[in-house]
Homo-oligomer: 233 residues x 2
């Protein structure tokens, strides 16, 4: 529908503005630093420098038809609160505010943020999952030369289906089952909800031959040791 | 296998240390700030304060059997490089280093990091996807009172299967198809690989009744307008 405003172009805000624009969304990128704004001019619909806590500047620079506004300011909670309130006052339907902690998230929800985001914590949670399930989890030999191995999906296999990968023919490996992670409570927290990071649960499933593998999947494979050795993580 | 060391306990490092420990991983949390370390003492296996760029302290405090070490320092590239080199020298098999930019990521890969992480950029990419596919994407009426609507999965439905949700009986909605996002190149970048964020592609699929919905799924639903109105995002 309408354009998306991104206020505060640190790493998160800038990354968001550029990713949205790359997906065809109209982006208005705002930062009080002129040089930061200049830097983004060619990547977004409109890049403009002003202090977003100034109500007059905000009213002058934001259209009425914004579909969403994201406050990406990281290190200034007071500014984040003020900008969030001003945005709701301006009539922005969907305001996503960055929170540096669960307490900050609750406060932002109370003062009108529709969703809150904590980029470092969300990434930390995903990485905890990746680190905990390393590429060779357990290794049980039963037939001579054959083992059952749990393997985190190697990067090159992510997004491909078992049919595409054709592991039996190409790598001599038989996929017995897949451990799949259910999504945790990442991402948006509706105003008023309890702010907590859900723990993903893994379930063992029969793999669908056409389903693309995800980077959080764990394959339970049977094969010869030399075939496993040839897989690159 | 062995414990995981997390060095640098800012938001990302602390979140990671706590998430890993909550999943049963042995965590050694390190920061040069004594107060930050004190704060985490009850949440991890071992929390110890020292400057990780000091080779002697590192050798004295790190066991030989670490399964991985994460450098979560954000704002000091020089320290991140130094700690990464010292960790590889110490013999740590898997070193994950935080990079603040693609250039930093390439440099860290060159000096020995096995994987690089940019928490703000990874979250930015996920949020760009969430924002771009808002909860009511398109709305076409054909039978009187009935519409086909594309709907981002409401938070309360994430992780549930269509059978569990029983939308036809409970909400009067018929799921025609699901738009599913293929994973982007989030997360680890093996040393030497090109550092870029992949754009996820959505494919339209026939929904499996037992498959849990993901927060990035888009449901293509048919129903009466008043039934759609009752769904809370
Ligand atoms: N009042 C304001 N109006 C507009 N932009 C602002 C305002 N306050 C801060 N900013 C901008 O927000 C951006 C990000 O803020 P800050 O540096 O505090 O966060 P950060 O935690 O370092 O961000 P990141 O982790 O995403 O890199 C900066 O570029 C800064 O110029
Ligand atoms: N040489 C060092 N040895 C140990 N800890 C360090 C060292 N340098 C920095 N740290 C710690 O790393 C932590 C995070 O670093 P910093 O504050 O630079 O990153 P940040 O970008 O603010 O982190 P985040 O975005 O995760 O909150 C701090 O708690 C700091 O004390």
């Amino acid at each position: 529908s309408g354009p998306v405003a991104v206020i505060g172009l640190g790493q998160f805000g800038k990354g968001l503005a550029v990713s949205l624009a790359a997906r065809g969304v109209e982006v208005i990128a705002i930062d009080r630093s002129r040089s930061i704004v200049e830097d983004l001019r060619d990547d977004v619909t409109l890049a403009v420098a002003f202090d977003a806590t100034d109500e007059d500047s905000l009213r002058a620079n934001l259209p009425q038809n914004l579909s969403a506004a994201v406050v990406g300011i990281g290190n200034n909670f007071e500014a984040t609160i003020l900008v969030t309130v001003l945005l709701k006052q301006h009539g922005v339907g969907r305001v996503i505010a960055r929170a540096a902690s669960p307490l900050a998230a609750r406060i932002l929800a109370k003062i009108g943020a529709d969703e809150v985001v904590n980029p470092e914590e969300e990434s930390a949670d995903r990485w905890a999952n990746r680190i905990r399930t390393p590429n060779l989890l357990s290794h049980i030999e039963f037939h001579e030369g054959y083992s059952i191995v749990e393997l985190g999906v190697p990067r090159a296999w992510v997004g491909k289906s078992l049919i595409e990968l054709n592991l039996r023919a190409k790598a001599g490996l038989h996929v017995v089952a897949i451990k799949r992670v259910r999504p945790a409570h990442h991402g948006s927290v509706p105003a008023g909800a309890t702010v907590r990071t859900g723990d993903p649960e893994a379930r063992i499933e029969v793999p669908l031959p056409t389903e693309p593998l995800r980077d959080s999947d764990i394959l339970i494979l049977m094969g010869k040791d030399e075939d496993f050795a040839r897989i690159e993580a």
